[in-house]
Symmetry: C2
Subunit: 180 residues, 2 copies
């Protein structure tokens, strides 16, 4: 049995359903950050993921054939997370997109969410702005704000101690809100 469980964007966002799934697992995989958020509910063996990729995921899928395995995903597994990469049952978590929308008081049904991690997404952002006028971009330090035409708000490290709202990007956990 294999579950991909969202642990939320920061500590304190785990749901009771997620806690229950985590506590029943024999083996729990996750990044250091994800393990930290879920640690008090883990009863099984902890395996910190240092490498991510197809090989690692296939190995986990094999192990889950005769064990209860959980893979933790920070935020929500279906928001640029592990939910599409690992073949398991997905349990949602609170994503940084939700924290951004809450802070901006913008509804999900008004925006387009664009993943810009490790890819050139400026064309997609432009089309999304033409379609809806409001876009949330999941971005990192490499994102070039000057290539985006509109009013920009940068939200970083949402839910964490060094949370920050500004006009430039300093973190790899950034959300760029664009409106025009």
């Amino acid at each position: 049995m294999l579950y991909v469980v969202g642990v939320g964007a920061a500590k304190g966002y785990l749901t009771d359903r997620a806690k229950e799934i985590i506590s029943k697992a024999e083996v729990v995989y996750g990044s250091e950050r994800a393990i930290e958020y879920a640690k008090e509910f883990i009863r099984g063996e902890i395996r910190v993921l240092k490498k991510f990729g197809k090989d690692v995921y296939e190995e986990i899928e094999r192990e889950a054939k005769d064990k209860k395995v959980v893979v933790l995903s920070t935020g929500d597994p279906m928001v640029s997370g592990l939910g599409k990469k690992i073949n398991g049952i997905v349990e949602p978590g609170i994503s940084s997109v939700q924290l951004a929308l809450a802070k901006l008081r913008v509804d999900l049904c008004e925006v387009v969410v664009v993943d810009s991690h490790g890819k050139d997404s400026y064309d997609e952002i432009e089309k999304a702005l033409e379609f809806r006028g409001k876009v949330l971009v999941l971005a990192d330090k490499n994102f070039d704000l000057s290539k985006v035409k509109g009013r920009v708000i940068v939200l970083e490290n949402l839910g964490l101690e060094d949370e920050r709202v500004g006009e430039d990007i300093k973190s790899d956990l950034a959300i760029v809100y664009v409106e025009r």
Copy 2:
């Protein structure tokens, strides 16, 4: 102090942060369903909301000037919820959109989410399909599936006991996934 707190799409989806805010409130407003999900964490006075509208929200905002008030919102307040209607601090919750994406194994960054409750949204859905090819529609019984061009999956009452995946709409808590 006024908080708008997401209680999730079903029982068991409350986060620890949401529970803490709820337990500190002197007055807690919410629909019968929202109160049910949060009841065990409420210490203050419970007021079941039977009417929704600007007058009601303004009255709550006035009360919150000298009391700790929480308004519960099923799902996430920023997914066609109360977050834009009531002027308070928004605490996110797990929405039915997230449950749908988890079940479909579709990422939020691949879709457009369209709210179709109480309005004609067929043009918006068509434009969203042209833009991204994958759309999630928040729909009710009045939604006419024949007006949508694409492969359709209807997900209803997600997270509840009568959860159902099919090709027709029987519930007012429906999510219609369209792909083409």
